[in-house]
Amino acid sequence: MTSRYYEFYCPVKILAGLKALEHLPSELAERGCAAPMVLTDKGVRQAGLIDHLQLAFEEADLSVDLVFDDIPPDSSTDVVEKIAGLFREHNCDSLIAVGGGSVMDTAKAANILVSEGGEFLRAYVGAHKLTRPLKPLVAIATTAGTGSEVTTVAVIKDTHKQKKDAFQSSHLMPAVAVIDPRMTITVPPGITAATAMDALTHSVEAFTCLAKNPLSDAYASAAIRKIVTALPLVLADPGHTSARLELAEAATMAGIAFSNSMVGLVHAIGHSLGAVCHLHHGTCMSLLLPYVLEYNFETIRDDLGELLPFLAGDEVARATPPEDRAQGSIAAIRDLRDEIFDATGLPRSLSESDKVEKSQFAKIADLSVDDGALMFNPVEADRSDVLSILERAWSLPD
């Protein structure tokens, strides 16, 4: 008798395609909302992305009166508590988050306070602390990578303790996620590549880690095919609208996959590498992915082999003997990294990044073994294992 069991949950309504933003006013009306508060950051506002949203509302004879654009890249409890105060002061009834991971996390955390009441977030730190639905939250991603628009987690820095707190609950998931290519079209090629590699890593880890299941596999594998097809098109032509849409869809699909299957060692080390060396999260993922797959290789060989048609195409997969397909998948990821390096200079090794010193390895390893993502990695890894992975990722193989 098999002991296999899994759970899969994604209640987020996804509005995807050209002019998807124009569907938003009626979505809010359906939920009885008329006074949304928009949360974003200065970069998004300066790029003119909020103008698209405001125009969509104006054409529906509505307006967006309250826009808070002061969310920093590393958001904190102070920012969240300030947003909650403004929300109450202006009698808002819903939240619209426009941005990347930090804006999304801030919006999710602010939604806790404005829905549950109270002044401080501290009471809700941890998992499963929320027991009822929150106010409608709309997530409009401006990068195609994090998948935050469909995940149950928010990470916010506690200003007083100077540490990051994680909040996890299915109630944190947005009610609506909007995928509109206008919102990602201005992202520079380097960031586009890094965030796409983040989404690719979500997919590959979702497909190969302990909590994988048939539904997350379907999302993950389809996301991989979209990423490897659309990313080169976007790098060659950043204004390629349909390829931008494909990438944004892939990031959301990868988000749905990993939200239901979790991630593993690439993220455990990547979180720590990013924290210690201040490297972009997507860059960390791209740097570590092949090396962690090699570390996990014997345990994930079959799953990794199954990914070859999605990573390299059906013809390559058919021409590759079954016993070589797992290695072929890693080779395809390396080839993609080379292609990205040629187009954007996104580093392929820790030394190429110019931001990492070998003296930092010990600190990175210490943090990695305490990262929750390690639990779901199919192979155990201790401090010395992490150090050996970092050593291998230091320079490109000859």
């Binding site: 880690c209 302990l210 929750g372 639990m375």
Partner: protein
Amino acid sequence: MRIQSTLKRAYVATMMRIVGRGLAIGSRVDSEIAHELAHLPVEMTIAMRVNPNGPCCLLQRTHGGLSYLGVHDSGSADMEIIFKHLQHAWLLYTFQENTPTAFARNRIVLDGEVGHATVFNRCLARLLTLILPRLIAKRAVKRYPVIALGHKLRLATSIYLRIPLERTRPVL
């Protein structure tokens, strides 16, 4: 069926007592468990319990390692590892499934900081490695470590001999 459930419940409750006391003793006799526990804040309370009214085991991190506080379920521990059903605890304590797999299969819910849970999981894995025969321990942990048989036997004996004598302590 009812007798089977009663026996399962009794077995899980007994194993929770053994594991709870074993961890408390292990924190004093094994340097690896002691080293891991140093990452947890002093006075932190840790509960393992079966939902909704199943067996429970409560521990507390102290200056000396871990204290076994007994089977009370105050519902207010700093970190709770909650089995969603008796059957899920049965799978884990009969070593048919290890803790990470139980988490991955949504059989366990964590209420608390994930980083603390990873530390506690390593302590639990180390204890099971020490007190179980290699063949069984290999099923209970993700990776069976390199450990000299003599060293393992010395520590296992030390833990088993002290389990009946281990006192239930009051919360700090």
